[in-house]
């Protein structure tokens, strides 16, 4: 099969040049019919889609049609230029171009174009009627993404609804999380031992959602360390993350009423290179003898280096990441691990802020909906009903 395709392709190339010298033969196939040209849906406005009905000799009749060429012109009678070619059996083509005016292949929108489709055999061809005019224009809504749109709206409404319930004073139950319960003990331990706490925000940028979740946790922990008068060290690997961490810790000290104790030099930048950063943090752990290490945020391969060095130093370690590949190492080598979503929930747990707890409740509701869809979808699929599947199918 694949060999045939290869042969066909080489034939096509030969044919392409061959045609120049022998443009017409009387054995031309029936032309493609019902050619339609129209704007391509759900695009940025630089493409027209052409469809046609296959030539009578394509797959039937003499079965000698090998390809279709798509030609374009700005005038119905003007000179037609080949825009592309598709193998026989295909009945659509997207004539696409660039959106930048400077680009060689610029495709102007809102401009009339006419199309012809040429059915080609080995040594002849025939052309369809001219179709068009058609104009390319950009859409203002991507219909294929409708399920995402519905999901976005539904989820946003759920989150906002629960938050406003929380604002009205409704209280939500949350089950205990081992990793969270350990935080207070861990800070207490550091205080007793008179040793510092190390907080690692991971390798994410300030724009990573996991890092932002970690900032909120850092803020709560900074408040507690300020209350306990325990030193907190935050080495950073991204300058923006460092800036934000400084603000966050400062705010925590302010919340605790101890702005005087805040020391900016304890929240510092080392280097943005993964392993140089880890080498330095390793050193900090052993030399500062940190009593408690937090690893919360985005972590990559360094997770285990940090966790094992921390364990050599005898620190209590609490970790959490949404990087699935690293969770196993944190689970094996640290004392408590916040797994995936638990990291995002932690900020709500630590602050006990009703608004954040409300959002957590919305997450649970969304989870319940997902689970019901999963279960009923799987049952439906067993009976070959793909209704549920379609609800979640996104066309890009």
């Amino acid at each position: 099969m694949k060999k045939t395709k290869a042969v066909l392709f080489s034939i096509l190339i030969i044919l392409f040049f061959f045609n120049l010298s022998f443009p017409q033969e009387n054995l031309s196939p029936p032309p493609p019919t019902e050619v339609r040209a129209s704007d391509t849906q759900n695009d940025n406005g630089h493409s027209i889609t052409i469809t046609w009905k296959l030539s009578g000799d394509d797959g039937a009749g003499k079965k000698n049609v090998v390809a279709y060429e798509i030609l374009r012109s700005e005038l119905p009678t003007g000179e037609f230029v080949v825009r592309g070619m598709v193998p026989a059996g295909n009945n659509t083509y997207q004539d696409r171009g660039a959106k930048e005016k400077e680009d060689k292949n610029y495709f102007p929108p809102h401009k009339d174009f006419y199309y012809k489709v040429r059915a080609k055999t080995l040594n002849s061809y025939s052309e369809s009627e001219v179709a068009g005019p058609a104009q390319a224009y950009g859409e203002w809504f991507h219909l294929g993404k409708l399920p995402v749109f519905v999901g976005t709206l539904a989820f946003t409404i759920m989150v906002l609804a629960f938050i406003s319930l929380a604002r009205k004073g409704k209280e939500f139950y949350v089950r205990p999380l081992a990793g969270i319960d350990a935080v207070d003990d861990a800070i207490g331990r550091a205080t007793e031992m008179g040793r510092p706490i190390l907080y690692i925000l991971g390798l994410g940028s300030a724009a990573d959602i996991a890092t932002i979740a970690s900032f909120t946790i850092l803020n709560r922990i900074a408040k507690k360390t300020a209350e306990h008068k325990t030193k907190i060290i935050v080495p950073c690997n991204d300058p923006i993350v460092m800036s934000v961490a400084q603000e966050t810790v400062k705010a925590g000290y302010l919340d605790a009423g101890r702005p005087d104790m805040y020391k900016e030099e304890n929240i510092f930048y080392l280097t943005s290179m993964q392993f140089a950063y880890v080498a330095a943090v390793n050193g900090i752990m052993l030399r500062e003898q940190t009593a408690t290490n937090f690893y919360l945020g985005k972590f990559y391969a360094e997770s285990l280096i940090l966790a094992e060095t921390g364990s050599v130093a005898g620190s209590i370690q609490i970790s959490g990441t949404d990087e699935i590949a690293q969770i196993p190492f944190f689970v094996a080598a640290t004392d408590f691990t916040l797994i995936g979503e638990e990291l995002y929930a932690a900020s709500a747990y630590l602050g006990r802020e009703p608004l954040l707890l409300g959002a957590l409740k919305a997450q649970d509701l969304a989870k319940a909906i997902v689970m019901i869809s999963l279960a009923s979808g799987a049952v439906a699929a067993s009976f070959h009903l793909d209704f549920f599947l379609r609800l979640f199918t996104v066309q890009m």
């Binding site: 996991a210 900032f215 280096i305 080598a333 954040l356």
Partner: protein, 208 residues
């Protein structure tokens, strides 16, 4: 001005990015591309903050003659050398064969690779330390890890079975668990993104 405007910027830019996902039209595409470039550019400027922090910390350690200040001198020397070599010949400074690249190949790369390779030791010690039949959960962890590791070891007649079991674990129950984590992370991250956009989660903004 100090608190409200940033929250407004977050809201507007966040909502815009969500909306643009649904709008294929090129006018949105252009703004989207510019916004992405701006963020890259902000990141570049912020690099100076990083260098400033590193330099200041090292210099003050040296000045205070803090314990190990000599090592801070090494950091400063390394930094200054790279900066000098990286700029003194304009944009030709970082071509292959320059001293800059020699330092990269003979100092940076080996240390980096060695740091990474420490994981071989640590993965063994972590496995030794935590893979004990202490609890049900620890036992599950231990048994699956063993099955997977044994796939590389010639086991004679049971090699085929183990190979099959290992790949079944990787593709079936492993995938089920990962999907659960993925979906959970998806919901947690989208909820957090929403909280950021609506200004509910704003600890990262600090306080005055």
């Amino acid at each position: 001005m100090r608190r409200q405007l940033p929250i407004l910027i977050v809201f507007v830019s966040g909502v815009f990015m969500v909306i643009q996902y649904f709008i294929p039209h090129e006018s949105f595409e252009f703004i989207y591309e510019y916004a992405m470039d701006w963020i890259i550019i902000i990141g570049i400027f912020a690099m100076l903050l990083g260098l400033w922090s590193l330099t200041r910390a090292s210099v003050s350690k040296v000045q205070a003659k803090a314990p190990g200040w000599g090592f801070s001198v090494m950091t400063l020397v390394g930094l200054a050398t790279m900066l000098f070599l990286g700029f003194y010949k304009g944009n030709k400074s970082i071509a292959e064969g320059t001293f800059f690249m020699d330092l990269f190949w003979y100092i940076y790369t080996p240390i980096q690779a060695t740091m990474f390779s420490l994981l071989a030791f640590y993965i063994a010690s972590a496995a030794y330390r935590s893979f004990r039949v202490r609890t049900v959960l620890a036992t599950i962890l231990l048994v699956t890890a063993l099955i997977i590791m044994l796939r590389l070891i010639p086991l004679g007649p049971i090699s085929g079975v183990n190979q099959w079991l290992a790949s079944w674990i990787l593709t079936v129950p492993n995938m089920a668990a990962k999907r659960a984590i993925w979906i959970g992370v998806g919901l947690g991250a989208t909820a957090t993104a929403l909280k950021i956009i609506f200004g509910i989660e704003r600890a990262y903004m600090g306080k005055d």
